[in-house]
Symmetry: C2
Subunit: 721 residues, 2 copies
Amino acid sequence: MSRTNKIESAEESAVRDLEPLFCPSSIAVVGASRRAGTAGNEIMRNLIFGEYAGVIYPVNPKAKSILGMRCVPNISAIDECVDLAVIIVPAPAVEKAIVECADRGTRHFVVISAGFKEIGGEGIKREKRLQAVAAERGLSILGPNCLGIINTDPAMSMNAAFGGDIPQAGCMGLISQSGALAAALLDYAHGRGIGFSRFVSFGNKADINEIDLLRSLAADNKTKVILMYVEDLSSGQQFVETAFAITRGADPKPILAIKTGRTQEGAAAAASHTGSLTGSDEVYDAIFSQAGVLRIESVEELFDLAEVFAEPSLSSGRRTAIITNAGGPGIMATDACIRNGLQLSKFQEYTLKSLRFQMPPTGSLKNPVDVIGDAKHDRYRAALDAVTADEGVDQVMILVTPQAMTDVKEIAGVVCETKGFCEKPIVACLMGDVDVAPGVRVLKEHGIPAYQFPENAMRAMSAKCRFAEWVRSPISDYRQFEVDRKAVDKIFADESVAGRNQLVEIRALQVVNHYGFPIVPYKLAESVDEAVEAASEIGYPVVMKISGPTLLHKTDIGGVRLNLTDESSVRTAFDEMIHSVREKMDDKVEIWGVVVQKMLPPGKEIIIGMSRNERFGPLLMFGLGGIYTEALRDVSFRLAPIRNNVADEMIKDIRSYRLLGGVRGEPASDVKAIAECLLRLSQLVTDHPQIKELDINPLIVYPQGRGAVIADARIILSETE
Amino acid sequence: MSRTNKIESAEESAVRDLEPLFCPSSIAVVGASRRAGTAGNEIMRNLIFGEYAGVIYPVNPKAKSILGMRCVPNISAIDECVDLAVIIVPAPAVEKAIVECADRGTRHFVVISAGFKEIGGEGIKREKRLQAVAAERGLSILGPNCLGIINTDPAMSMNAAFGGDIPQAGCMGLISQSGALAAALLDYAHGRGIGFSRFVSFGNKADINEIDLLRSLAADNKTKVILMYVEDLSSGQQFVETAFAITRGADPKPILAIKTGRTQEGAAAAASHTGSLTGSDEVYDAIFSQAGVLRIESVEELFDLAEVFAEPSLSSGRRTAIITNAGGPGIMATDACIRNGLQLSKFQEYTLKSLRFQMPPTGSLKNPVDVIGDAKHDRYRAALDAVTADEGVDQVMILVTPQAMTDVKEIAGVVCETKGFCEKPIVACLMGDVDVAPGVRVLKEHGIPAYQFPENAMRAMSAKCRFAEWVRSPISDYRQFEVDRKAVDKIFADESVAGRNQLVEIRALQVVNHYGFPIVPYKLAESVDEAVEAASEIGYPVVMKISGPTLLHKTDIGGVRLNLTDESSVRTAFDEMIHSVREKMDDKVEIWGVVVQKMLPPGKEIIIGMSRNERFGPLLMFGLGGIYTEALRDVSFRLAPIRNNVADEMIKDIRSYRLLGGVRGEPASDVKAIAECLLRLSQLVTDHPQIKELDINPLIVYPQGRGAVIADARIILSETE
C-alpha cells in the first residue's frame, strides 16, 4: 500500500518546531556592524527601531557599541543561551560561528551571508558542510543567502531582516526564495497598504525549506493567507500533502504561489514523444493543482488576490451581481466576469421590484445594475441592499466612476456598513486614481478589497471562488484496487535477471493485466496450429504480432499482421512472419512465437502514461491519441498517487476534452473507463518504483458504458546498477 | 472593380474639417450655469480656469453673470458669429438652440445634454431630428450625451468638458464613446502622469463618429498616439481604410483601442455552422487586425501601452536584453519576455568581453545580465553601454529591485542619459512602490516608460514591437484575378427570376468556376448513357449526385453515390437514384439529371466561406474541416476585400495551423493554393453584394505544389424584395 507508505514517510520527516525562529526571547547578531548600508547594520536598526520585544546581543570583536547598544566580542561572552543567532559574517567564517553558538546551546539560526551554493565551486562545499552541521547537531538553519525573517506579532515585533522598510502588521504570511524580490514585495505591499504576519526570505534553503515554512505558517493563527515565491520545490508528493492539509484542513488557509521559469523548459521541450512532453513546468502545474495551491502569474496578481483573500468571507457560488454608475465600465466588468469563469446573477422578482421602486427610470435594473451617473451613496445603498438580499447572488462587485455628482467617500462608507452585516463577499472597483483615492482609503481601512480596474477585481473574485469550491468539495479518497502485486514483482525480477530494461509487449500486457486493466484478449502461439486454435478461440478477425525477447520494433521487421479473417490467412501470416523476422534480424533470433489478439473494433484512441521525474516522482500523463498529443501537445499531468477525483480532473483538463463528450453526432466516450485506468496506473507506478516509463498507447475507448481496452503497452524499468 | 468603388465611396464621404471644433476662436456656452456641480457650471469653470485663449460667451437668460463673466440672454445677443456652441440645455430644447446658433452662422456644436437615443422612445426621435438638422444645414455636431472636448495645445488651451480635472498636456489623443469611462480615464492618466493632446467624449455619435475623429487626430501634429474606447463601430471597411491610412501612412501613428462586449456574443453563438460562428466580436477582431489597430483588453493595459508608445523610438526586431540586479525578478522578466512573443538577445563576443571586464565575478554576463544586488548606477551604466552597443540587441529592459545599496534615482538618471544618445527602445521596471518612486519620477520626466512589474513592461514592449513590424512590413496589394464577372451576374439574375435564394450545387459550382477556383471535373448527365459517357470521359472512380432546382439535401433523399468504379455501377446508381428521389420527394419533382464528378483522392479538408454582416459587410472565414471548425471553433475571420498578405495571415491565425505544416510524417499542405482561393473568394463576394452566404466545404488541399480542389459549394443570395 504505497499511499500509506508515502504518508508515513512524510510524517517521518519530523514536523519541526520553528517557533523559536519566529519567537526568540533573545537574538545574537553575529556580525553586527556600525557601518550604515551594510546588512549587519540594517538588521540592528530594524531590530531596535522595530521595537523587538526580546534581548539583542550585537556580536562584534572590533566595535564597542552599535546604535548605543554595547557589543560583545564573541558569543561566549553572552551570559545566557540565546534562542536565535543571526549570522552576517563572511561566508568562510559562517560554519565556525554556528558551531560556537551551538556549543553555547543555540539551536536556531538565520544565515544572511552569501557566498554559498549560488557562487558554485567552493560555495557548494561550504553549503554542504552547513547542512552536515545542522543534521549532526540538530540545528535549524534558515538561508544562507537570504534577507532574514520578520514576525509582526506585537508580542514579538521582530524584524530580523534587511533591505526593506518594516512592514505593517497584517494577515499575510510571505515566504520567498528570492531575497531581492522579497524586498520588492515588501515595498509593493507598503504602497498598497497590505500588512504581513510573518515574512521569511529563505534563500538557498540549505536546511529549512518551503515545506517546513508552510507548516509553520499554517500553525500560526495570525496568518490567514500564505503567499510564496519559489523558483523550485524541494519535493513533490510531500509538498502536495503538506499544502493539501493546509488548504483543506479544519481551518483552511489559501496558498498563493508564484513559481517562475515557466517558459524555459517549455521552449526546450521540442520533441513530441510522451517523455519529453513532461517539461518540468508542467510538473509544477500538476503539483499546485493537486495541492490546492493557486498558481499566480505576476506580482500584481499576487497582491490583487492577497487583498481579496484577506477578507475572510467565502462565496457559496459563482453568481455575481455588479452595481455600476456607468454603462461602459459595466460592460467591461461583465466581460471580465465571464472571462474569469464567473456568472452574472439573474435577479429574483422581489429584487427587481425593490430596484424598480428605488432606482431612477433611466437606470438599468437587470444585472449589471446601473444606478446612473448622478447616483450618490444613498442610491448605491438601496441597490446594494437589494442585490445582497437576493438568494441568486453569491457575491457583489461595486463599480464607481468619478462623475460630477459622485460622493466616492460616502459610497465607500455605504459598502463598509453593508459588509458589516452581509456575509457575501463584496469587492469594490473605484475606477480612477487621484479622485477616487479617499474612497479607496476608507475601504482599505475596513478590509474591503478595492481595485482600480474591473478586470483585476473580477480575476481576484474568481480566484477566491475557486478556492471556496476547493474547500467545499468532498475530499476524495485514494482508490485501492485488488491487484496481483506479487506477480508483477516476479515479472520485473525475471526481466531484471534477464538484463532487459524494456519489457517486450507480451510481458507489458501481463503486467497491466495483473493490475486489472482491460486488455485485448490474446494468446501466445508457438506453432501454426496453436495460432489457428487461438484465433478460433478468440474469434475472427484477429491481429498477429511476433514475440520474442529482443523483438521490439515489430512492424519494421514484418512482425505485425492486422485484420486476419480466416484460418488460411492465419496460417499464411504465421509462416510469412517467422520467415520475414528471421530474414530481417538473424536466423538465430529467439522467437517465442506469435501473439494472436482480437482485432479491436474502432474507437477513440487515448494515450495514458507515466514518466518518473527524478525529483518529483511518478508523473501521470493523459491525452487524446494522434495529432492531439503529438502535434497539438494537448495533454494533462498529475503526480501519482492521485485521488479518485483527480483522474476526472486530468481528463477534463485537456483543451480537446469536448471531443470525448460526443461531437458531430458521435456518442460520448466512456470517460469513467479512462478514469479507472488512470487510477489503476497510479496504483501500479506507486507500487513499483522501478518502473521508469510506462505508455499505454493506444487505449481504445468506446461509447459510454462500453469501456476501454488496451491495445498496446510499453514499460521501461530503471537500470539496475 | 469593387475595391476601387470602396475607396471612392470612402473618399466621397467628404473628410470633414473638424479643426474649428478643436480650435474655435469663440465659444458660446448655451446653458451656462451658476450652480456648482452642474455641467453648465463645470464647463464654464474649466474654460475659464483652463485659460482658454478665445472668447467665452455664457448664454443664460436668467443669470446676469457666471464666475464674473457677463451673460448674454440668448445667442442673438452676441455681436459676432461664434465658432463653437456648447449646448447644455434640457434635451427638448437642444434642437431649437442649435437652429438659433446656426441661423447666426455657427457651424460646430458640442451637445452635452442627455435624453436622446440612450433613453429610447421620444429620445430616439429627438436624436433623428438632430441628425436631420446637421445634414440639412451642414453642421458638425459632437454628442449628444457626452462629456465634451479638450484641446491642451497652449495656443488654444480649451477645456470644454466636465467631470474631470484638466489633464496635463501630452501626446495622447483620446476618444471615448463612454463619458463616465472618459472621466475615469482622465483620473487614471492624472495618477500616472500621462498627458493628452486632445480629448473627446463623443457620446451617442449622432453626427460626428469615431472615424471623423480618428482623421482629425491623425491630422493633429501634437497627437502622437491615439487611444480609443468604443462599444461599437459605425462601419467596417471605412474604419479599416481610415485606420490603415493612419497606422501605415507617411507618419504612422499607433491606435490603441478598447472595444468592450467581448463575451456577450461569444456566449450566444452556440450553434456550429459557419454563419453562427461569426459572433460579432470576431468581426471586431478581424477589423482591428486589418486596420493595424492594437486591441487592448483593459484600461490598465491601455495606459501601459500608451506609455511605451509615447516614446517615439521603434525597435528593429524582437531581440531583447534584460539588465537586472536580482536573479528571481530576472527569471520573471525572461518568462514575460518569451510569453509575450519577444526573444532573448544572444550577446556578441565583444559585449561579453566588455561585461566580463566591468561586472563583478559573481554577476551573470549572459542575458539577463545580473549586475548583482549591490550594484549602483555606475555598474548599471556599464552594463547599459555594453548591451545597447550590441548589434544583436533591438531593445533593452532595465530591471531594478530596491536593495540596501541601490541608488534608484541615480540609476534612473543613467537610463535617461543613455536614452539621450541611444535609438533603441529602453523601458524600465522599478520593482516596488514607495522606495522606487523617486526613480520613477526621474524616468517619467524624461519620457522613459517605467513600470512596476516586469510582465507589464514586457507586454508593452511587445506591443510596440508588433507595431514596428506592422509599420515596416511592405503594403500588400489587392490582387485582381481575371474572372468572368458577367457570367456570374447572369446566373444570379436567372436564379432571381426563378425565385431561388439558395443555388443548387451545379449552379454554385458554375459560379466559383467563373471566378477561377479549382473545381472537381464534372458533367451534368440527363440520361444513363450520358452518365456512362461522362464517367468514362472524366475517368473512374466517380461520384454521382442528383441535380434539380429543389434538390438541396441530396444525401437524405438517396441522391448521392460515392466511389463508383465501372460502367455497370454507374448504370445501376443512376436508375436507383432517380427512383429513390422520386419516391422520397414527389413523382413530379423536377430533376435536371445527375452530376457526375471525379472522385477526389483524399487530402486535407478545409472550409472557406463568407457571411455578409449586416453592418460590416462580407466577412470571410477560414478553418480546417470537421471537428476543428465545428467542435473546436478554430476559425479565423477577415473583412473582404482582403489584401494579398491578409489571406496568409488568415491561414496562420488558426490554432491548429501547424497541422497544415505536415505532422507525423505527412507532407506540408499547399497553403498557397488555399490563400489564392481566399483571395478569389474576396473578389467574388466584393463584386457581388447579393451573395449573402457562401460556403466552400470541403476545399480539399493536397501537398505543397499540388493544389486544392473544391468538392462542394453552397451559395445563398439575399432575398430580393
